[in-house]
Amino acid sequence: MARSLHRHGRALAEARQQVLVMRDLMDLQIESADGIDLGRVDDVEAEILADGQAAVTALLGGPQALAGRISSRLRPLIRRLLRDRFDSRIPIEEVAELGLVVRLRGPAARYGLGASDRWLAEHLWARLPGGRR
């Protein structure tokens, strides 16, 4: 079922009934309700439920999460350097739709993911001539 989920895109409610394979979630594009590309699913947070099943609780994004994808030893190192400042955690409840992309319930401004895009736009490009075109 792995890729068919990608192809057709189903509502999260339906996806919840299915067993998600990591490949269905990891590295997917994360999009806000207002259609802004915020980033990708760099890692996922899961917890083991009482019945022994694992459930995804949050999507993670940022340099620390990515460092963990490269090597588990790199993650604490980057964490000590950045102190969680650039990483964000999106609770799974915020996910409105899971298909070809992960669509969130709120507008871009609600999430920490993609905040650097807004910071750069405001502090750099908006101040340069032509930045708004």
């Binding site: 590309d37 736009a121 708004r132």
Partner: protein, 405 residues
């Protein structure tokens, strides 16, 4: 009617977009040093780039996503870093060569020294990628690039290649001690023509222009006719250099030397035509390379991207675009030799081709992305074969160069 207009524009774009600093320098050196003995490499490379452009257009039209996104989704973040790193290294060198080519073109036309023009050329490239809409970037330099067809006029005026030269095409005669240089140039020609930035650029461009499955026939014709027509420019340059520089004993290793071939054929207007062709092709390529790199990074990390978006709408994408130009300026100022940079960049690309194109071939055979439109066996074998050839030739030339001292 509109469809045919689209085809005409596509062909013009492909024709003008075929040449860049890498193809110009490698073609010129090949002709000057080995006559027509490396014509086969240009032909093989043309076939490969036709296949590649067709695949890239098909991929973007059917899957609806750009290439870098697909690489990360298919192979994961860790693997994605591999083609990304190879692209960043090889294409930064190439971009330095393209910007250098623009500066040298202006220098040939005006007589000013090229080095002070180099930062200005970089600023020009940055301003255009920063401000211009996608269609201007794609079509402007491409239409200007048709000037490369004046190389054919140059050949005709000089009377065409003589029988002796034609016979040097096959079997190629390689003098004693010349094998490393010969193989090196073969690899560089393949790398310069089959540049992977094309996949990132073209697949993203197809997204920016909203292609779909209805565009597939047009895509196929554009790839074959456009690239076939475009290769005329580089083949003509091999012939020109072989006719003019080879008898003079010059090695064709500088851009002004290559310009002198057109001067010989058409006088001062010939020099200007060469300068204009160089300017147009290097400008077009500089756009494509810098955008290709920015697409690669932004799509892989999932950021807002798009040349038609204002910089405030795609802030990180535009930051990468700027950083890429800055890095290339540094490279260009450290190694003040655009022609050598073009050769080094092309050779690096040839070495990295398996890393950049193996994932592409895997994705082109995935039914989840392409449905019934996956690759046929022939295009798989042909593309894989050329990639393998370029890599082996590049490695061989390096080994021979070092063994030979």
């Amino acid at each position: 009617m509109r469809k045919w207009l689209g085809l005409a524009l596509g062909v013009v774009t492909a024709t003008g977009g075929f040449l860049d600093a890498g193809t110009v320098v490698t073609a010129g050196e090949a002709g000057a040093q080995f006559g027509l003995g490396l014509l086969w490499a240009a032909l093989v490379a043309t076939l490969a780039v036709m296949l590649l452009v067709e695949m890239t257009g098909r991929f973007a039209a059917v899957s609806g996503k750009p290439y870098a996104a697909a690489v990360r989704e298919h192979f994961g973040f860790k693997f994605y870093l591999l083609p990304l790193a190879s692209e960043l290294i090889a294409e930064s060198v190439m971009l330095a060569a393209e910007i250098g080519g623009i500066a040298v073109a202006v220098s040939i036309a005006t007589g000013l020294p090229w080095l002070p023009l180099f930062p200005l050329a970089a600023l020009f490239v940055w301003l255009l990628v920063y401000r211009a809409p996608f269609s201007l970037i794609e079509n402007g330099p491409a239409v200007l690039g048709l000037v490369t067809l004046s190389f054919l006029v140059g050949i005709a005026v000089l009377g065409g290649p003589n029988e002796h030269l034609v016979r040097s095409a096959w079997p190629p005669a390689v003098g004693p001690g010349k094998l490393p240089a010969y193989l090196g140039l073969a690899a560089a020609i393949l790398g310069a023509t089959i540049s992977p930035y094309l996949i990132y650029f073209y697949s993203s461009g197809a997204r920016e222009e909203g292609w779909n499955e209805a565009d597939l026939t047009l895509n196929k014709v554009t790839a074959v006719v456009g690239m076939g027509f475009g290769s005329l420019g580089s083949i003509a340059l091999i012939v020109l250099a072989a006719m003019v520089l080879l008898p003079q004993g010059k090695d064709g290793s500088t851009l002004p030397q290559l310009a002198s071939t057109m001067t010989r054929a058409l006088g001062a207007p010939g020099t200007l035509l060469f300068a204009l062709a160089l300017f147009a092709t290097c400008t077009g390529a500089a756009f494509e390379v810098s955008l290709g790199l920015a697409y690669d990074v932004a799509q892989g990390f999932g950021w807002q991207w798009g040349e038609d978006e204002a910089p405030v709408e795609a802030a990180r994408f535009n930051l990468v675009l700027t950083a890429v130009v800055v890095v290339s300026v540094v490279i260009g100022l450290l190694i003040q030799d655009p022609a050598s940079l073009a050769i080094v960049g092309s050779t690096l690309i040839a070495l990295f081709l398996p890393i950049s194109l193996a994932p592409f071939l895997v994705i082109m055979n995935d039914r989840d992305e392409l449905g019934e439109r996956t690759n046929g066996r022939l295009s798989n074998i042909a593309t894989g074969g050329v990639v393998g050839l370029a890599f082996v030739v590049a490695v061989l030339s390096l080994v021979l160069t070092f063994v030979g001292g």
